[in-house]
C-alpha cells in the first residue's frame, strides 16, 4: 500500500506515529473513507472495528513563548477509532481516528452510509459515550434501556447507587444499603 500517496491526497490528516494511525478532522472523514473504499489500490471494503475512546482533560507540559516549559490544560475530547481492512486485496489495517470538539456536545459524522458495519457500532458508541453521529439512519440506545440518561463508558461516569443494588456481605454496597434505609426512615418520620 502506498500510504504516501494517501497522505499527499489528504494533507489535512495528521500521522500519529505512537499509535500508527491517522488523525482525521471530522469534516473530511467521509471523504477520506470514500477514498479508501473506492481507490483501486486500497480497496478497504471492510470496516472492521469502530471504537469510542474517552480522553479526559489533563495537564500537559509544553514549551512556552520564552522557551520555558509551561503547564497547560489540555482539553478533553472523545475519540472514535476506525479500523479498515481490505477483504478483496487482503491487506490492512488502516486506522483513522476522529476527535470531537470537547466533551460537552460531541458530534461526528456517521460513516454508516458508506459502511453498514458501523450501524450498530455507532449506536453502541452513542449509547455508551454519548457521541451523536449526524446522518445515522436510526440513532437510538442499543445496549442500555431507552430511559437511561447517562453514558456509562465515559471515564467520569459515576454509577448511581439507588437502584439494582443487592446487599452482599463485606461490601460497600451493604453500607450504601444501610444508608439508604436510614434515609428512607428519616423521610418517613
Amino acid at each position: 500500500m502506498n500510504t504516501e500517496r494517501f497522505a499527499a491526497q489528504f494533507p489535512q490528516m495528521q500521522w500519529d506515529a505512537a499509535t500508527s494511525s491517522w488523525i482525521v478532522p471530522h469534516q473530511s472523514l467521509l471523504e477520506i473513507a470514500l477514498f479508501l473504499k473506492t481507490d483501486p489500490e486500497f480497496r478497504m471494503d471492510l470496516l472492521s472495528n469502530v471504537a469510542g475512546v474517552d480522553w479526559l482533560s489533563s495537564k500537559e507540559k509544553v514549551r512556552g513563548e520564552d522557551g520555558k516549559p509551561v503547564e497547560r490544560e489540555r482539553p478533553g475530547y472523545l475519540e472514535v477509532v476506525y479500523h479498515f481492512y481490505s477483504v478483496s486485496a487482503k491487506q490492512g489495517p488502516i486506522v483513522l481516528r476522529c476527535r470531537t470538539d470537547g466533551r460537552a456536545t460531541p458530534i461526528l459524522p456517521s460513516i454508516t452510509p458508506l459502511y453498514r458495519s458501523a450501524e450498530f457500532q455507532e449506536r453502541e458508541i452513542y449509547d455508551l459515550y454519548g457521541i451523536v453521529f449526524s446522518g445515522h439512519p436510526d440513532l437510538r440506545r442499543i445496549l442500555m434501556w431507552d430511559e437511561f440518561e447517562d453514558f456509562p463508558m465515559r471515564k467520569d461516569y459515576v454509577s448511581p447507587d439507588d437502584y439494582e443494588w443487592e446487599p452482599t456481605p463485606h461490601d460497600d454496597v451493604l453500607e450504601r444499603a444501610r444508608q439508604h434505609r436510614r434515609e428512607e426512615e428519616r423521610r418517613r418520620a
Binding site: P93, T105, E149
Partner: protein
C-alpha cells in the same frame, strides 16, 4: 408515518432537537395502513431466540416488512468492568462473552495483550492453543447445526446427537482446565496447564471418530427433503452486502467471500497447517449450514496435523511472562482472530497503568446481526426463526 428519529435530518435539526435521551420511533400512525400491518414483539422469551433477544417485527399477513433487533438484556458493561481491573483479571470475564467458545475468547484477548506487551509464546503452548481452538470450533459448529435443526422443528434428536459429541470434547476441557465451559485456560505467554498424554490420547480419538459422527449426522439430516425446502433460497445474503456490513466468519464465507483470518493473518502458528476454506455459493441458510459442516472437517484435519507436529515436551509458559502486575508500555493494539463465530477482535489501549485504559471487544455475533433485517425482509415469519438461527449468535457476546 415512519419517524426514524433524526434519520434524514440535517445537522442543524439534530442540534435543535434534544441532544440526548431516548429516540423512540413510531411505526404506525392512525392511518389506514395500520389496519393491514401487524407489529409483534418476538422475544425476549421466545424459545428459539437463543437467549434473551427480541425482534420488533412488522408483518403484512405472514410476510415480514420490517424487523428491528432489540437487545441489551444481558448487558453488564464488560468493557467498563475490564477497565477497572488488572489485565489478568479480565481473562475469566472473556470466558463469559461467547460462552460456547471460551477458549477462543481467551486466545483473542491473550494474543492482543501479548502483542501489546511483546511477550513470546513457547512452541508447545502455541500447538496447544491451536488444538483447543479447533476443538472449540467443533463444539460451536456442531451445536449451531443442532440448534438450527431444532429451530426448524427437528426437536431433540439432532441437537442431542450434537450435544453428545460436544460432551466428549467438554470432558477434555474439564480435564485440562478444570471447567467445562468457563475454561479460563490461557495466560499471557502460554497456557495454564499442560496437556497430559492421556488428554492427548483422547483428542486423538476425537480426531479419529469425529468425521464418522459427521457422516452420520449428515446422513440424518443434510439431504432431508424438509430441510432442503426450508433452507434453500431462504435468507439470501448477497456478497457485497456481507462485506459492507462487516459480516465475518462462516456467514461471510457462505456468501462466497474467501476471507478466513487463519489464512489471511496467519496468527499463532496457523501458517504451518494445510487446510481448505469452504465457500458457499448462494449465501442462503443451507449454505451457512453446509459451510459449517465442511469447516468442521477441515478443523479435524488441522487437529490431526497439530497432534502429529506437537513437540513431545517443552515449556507451556514463557518464564519471563509476569502473571501479576503486568504493565504494558503505553500504546494501543487491535488484534483479531478467527473465532468460530467470526472475527473476534480486541482493541486495547494501555496508559502504562495496572489496568487497561480502553478495552474494546469487537464481537462477531453483534455485528453479524446488522444484516438480520436485510435477510428477513420479504420472507415469511416462520423463516425468520431459521434465518436468525443460521446467523449463529450468543447473547453473552452480543450484549456484553
Amino acid at each position: 408515518m415512519l419517524d426514524l428519529g433524526g434519520a434524514n435530518a440535517a445537522d442543524g435539526e439534530i442540534l435543535d432537537a434534544p441532544l440526548y435521551g431516548p429516540r423512540s420511533y413510531r411505526v404506525f400512525g392512525d392511518d389506514a395502513l395500520a389496519k393491514h400491518f401487524l407489529e409483534i414483539s418476538m422475544g425476549p422469551h421466545h424459545p428459539s431466540t437463543h437467549g434473551v433477544f427480541r425482534m420488533d417485527v412488522v408483518l403484512d399477513g405472514e410476510t415480514v416488512v420490517r424487523l428491528k433487533p432489540v437487545f441489551g438484556y444481558l448487558h453488564r458493561n464488560h468493557e467498563k468492568l475490564a477497565e477497572t481491573m488488572s489485565w489478568l483479571a479480565a481473562i475469566p470475564y472473556t470466558d463469559r462473552l461467547d460462552y460456547f467458545c471460551s477458549m477462543t475468547n481467551n486466545w483473542a484477548y491473550v494474543l492482543a495483550v501479548e502483542k501489546l506487551a511483546g511477550i513470546a509464546v513457547p512452541e508447545r503452548a502455541e500447538y496447544i492453543r491451536v488444538i483447543v481452538g479447533e476443538l472449540t470450533r467443533l463444539v460451536n459448529h456442531i451445536c449451531l447445526a443442532g440448534f438450527l435443526l431444532a429451530d426448524l422443528g427437528a426437536l431433540g434428536t439432532p441437537l442431542l446427537y450434537a450435544f453428545r459429541e460436544r460432551e466428549k470434547i467438554l470432558d477434555i476441557f474439564e480435564e485440562i482446565s478444570g471447567a467445562r465451559m468457563m475454561c479460563n485456560y490461557m495466560r499471557f505467554g502460554g497456557v495454564r496447564v499442560d496437556l497430559s498424554p492421556e488428554a492427548l490420547q483422547k483428542i486423538h480419538r476425537i480426531a479419529e471418530r469425529f468425521p464418522f459422527f459427521l457422516d452420520e449426522f449428515e446422513a440424518l439430516v443434510s439431504r432431508n427433503e424438509i430441510l432442503l425446502s426450508r433452507c434453500q433460497g431462504v435468507g439470501v445474503l448477497p456478497r457485497h452486502l456481507a462485506v459492507n456490513a462487516g459480516v465475518t466468519g462462516p456467514m461471510l464465507r457462505a456468501s462466497g467471500v474467501d476471507y478466513d483470518l487463519r489464512k489471511v493473518d496467519r496468527y499463532g502458528i496457523y501458517d504451518r497447517f494445510e487446510f481448505r476454506v469452504p465457500l458457499g455459493e448462494h449465501g442462503d441458510v443451507y449454505d451457512r449450514y453446509m459451510v459449517r459442516i465442511l469447516e468442521m472437517r477441515e478443523s479435524v484435519a488441522i487437529l490431526r496435523q497439530a497432534l502429529a507436529q506437537i513437540p513431545e515436551k517443552g515449556e507451556i509458559m514463557n518464564p519471563q511472562a509476569k502473571l501479576r502486575n503486568l504493565r504494558p508500555k503505553p500504546g494501543e493494539i487491535y488484534s483479531r482472530i478467527e473465532s468460530p463465530k467470526g472475527e473476534l477482535g480486541f482493541y486495547l489501549i494501555s496508559d502504562g497503568g495496572p489496568c487497561p485504559y480502553r478495552y474494546r471487544v469487537r464481537p462477531p455475533s453483534f455485528i453479524n446481526l446488522t444484516v438480520l433485517e436485510d435477510m428477513c425482509l420479504g420472507q415469511k415469519i416462520a423463516d425468520v426463526i431459521v434465518i436468525f438461527g443460521s446467523v449463529d449468535i450468543v447473547l453473552g457476546e452480543v450484549d456484553r
